[in-house]
Amino acid sequence: MGDDIIVEVKDLKVHFETKKSLATDLFHKDKKPLKAVDGVSFQIRKGEILSLVGESGSGKTTTGKAILQLVKPTGGQVFFHGEEIKSRDKYYMKGFRQKAQMIFQDPYQSVNPRNVVLDIVAEPLDVNGLVKTEEERNERVKIALEQAGMIPAEEFYYRYPYELSGGQRQRVVIASSMIMEPDFIIADEPVSMLDASIRTGILRLMMDLRDRKQLAYLFITHDLSLAWLISDRIAIMYLGKIMEIGEADEIIHRGVHPYTKALTEIMPTPGVNNRGKKRNVLPGETPNPTERINGCKFFSRCYRAQEICKNENPDLCEVSPNHFVACHFAREL
């Protein structure tokens, strides 16, 4: 493996304690951990976009937060530039947080409504004490805003968030994360609150920054077609585990795992091709994540399920170059 791996996640686990009743709490009876992330591994290279796709509750956001140590991982390791993250070392973490940034879903909630754009974008500089003079601060904000497509930047300096449209707000959020010149960005559903016509502008911006600065992205989304459009590789998550990971086209057009196939089959496409076709919906519902599942997590909804799936958890195995599937029958499918 080359040196260009920015982030590597090995067997990452995040389990949350769930509160039952006071009685069970007191006697430690039957404590069920909620396994939000249950053994996730992947690498992201320089200039690469990896999409993490899954339904709500599959653990994709928790994975993102655990990488940045915003929630404490229960187990596993995270490497940044080949070095394991030292979450106890405050000085190290300060530097790490500058180089690894997160963009959240809702631009209406992730900016302070009582700050003007200039202060919102400059806040990371102020917090880290990186600029000495007013001119330097303004200069860096200007560059960041212009990179985020807010031109002319000066015109937006003294505007409040409510004076901006949804797309502009998300650009401000991007500008404030870009001002630290990070190597790695976790984008958690960055466009799902935006209208379709504005969405593409933000996507273009993210792609453009990737091309110019060779950023690595972890793109978290529930929208498979969006993931296909922008990412190099896609990882499909279900109940805290990666079911399949590989090149975007490979996953969409030649997916192997029964869950991936179910998802791609019902994926809505604009047009009349699927007109009147009955959607093949998976039977049942996603099990509660506190339920203990010894075998394959997808067992209860899988048409291929056998005895072995019930008892044994399948590991990811390589079905074609760089295409891994966690299924006992991966090679037959």
Partner: protein, 323 residues
Amino acid sequence: MALLEVKHLKTYFDTLKGQYKAVDDVNFDLEYGEALGLVGESGCGKTTCALSIARLLPKEGKIYGGKILLEGTDMVQLSDDQIREKRWKDVSIVFQGAMNALNPVMKVGDQIAEAIMLHEKIKKEDALRRTERLFELVEMPADRIRNYPHEFSGGMKQRAMIAMALACNPKIIIGDEPTTALDVMVQAQILNLLEKLRRELNMGLILITHDLSILGETCDKIAVMYAGKIVEIGMVEDIFERTAHPYTKRLISCFPNISKDKVIPAGIEGIPQNMLEPQPGCSFYPRCHLATDLCKTEVPTSIEVGKKHFSACHRASEVLNGR
């Protein structure tokens, strides 16, 4: 006679800053068993349209003109008492946040039975029995009517809401972003269900959404709204394959299509116009790549470009021919 005819509907909001023309001269009709998709971006007036049909507008909103003919009866002219009779029996709405619309401290079955008893003079046992049948109709086990909302998943709550909407055999069901907050798999289940119901019960369905990609497989007709107006309306095939309005064309291209090339779409530059200060001319003019001087000054009227296919654009025929 069509099930529903909306003619020159004008719904305006009176605000402190002036009059906001949320729905401005909208026309469409709906047959029995037909599904119409109403698509547009946030603020284009699609929800206001639905609320006008059910006469559920907030107090600032008023219908200033037009007709809403439901089997020939003009909903606009009815008094509040008369409309209360019609609502739920003739028209019912399933909202986007339906999951939060259930009363958390009341059993789901009791909530649905309550709605039935308000509209029909029947005993509670009978209402509950009907609720059980409704649950079967939406493919849920009948004994779940005795559960509380927190015992349901998001998809099940939405099903319960659909069951409730069906309680009095409405002629029209309006789904206002009924699947937006749901996962793709659950979304597919709900869409399958709505499709089955409208076929079996011969209901009219109006599906309101910002997601154009789900309409192609669900609806018969699509109406595209922009800034309070329907800019294009036609059969699904017309909208997708014989597009006759530049906005529709750009909007379709904004949705990724896995069977086509992988290019990031151009999007649409600019933002919709401020409807408190409407400009003369076509409302899409500032964002349109085909705009001419005529578009700047004159509002385009809706012209028929094909059979039952209308476009409100001065250059509709050019767009139709591939520009």
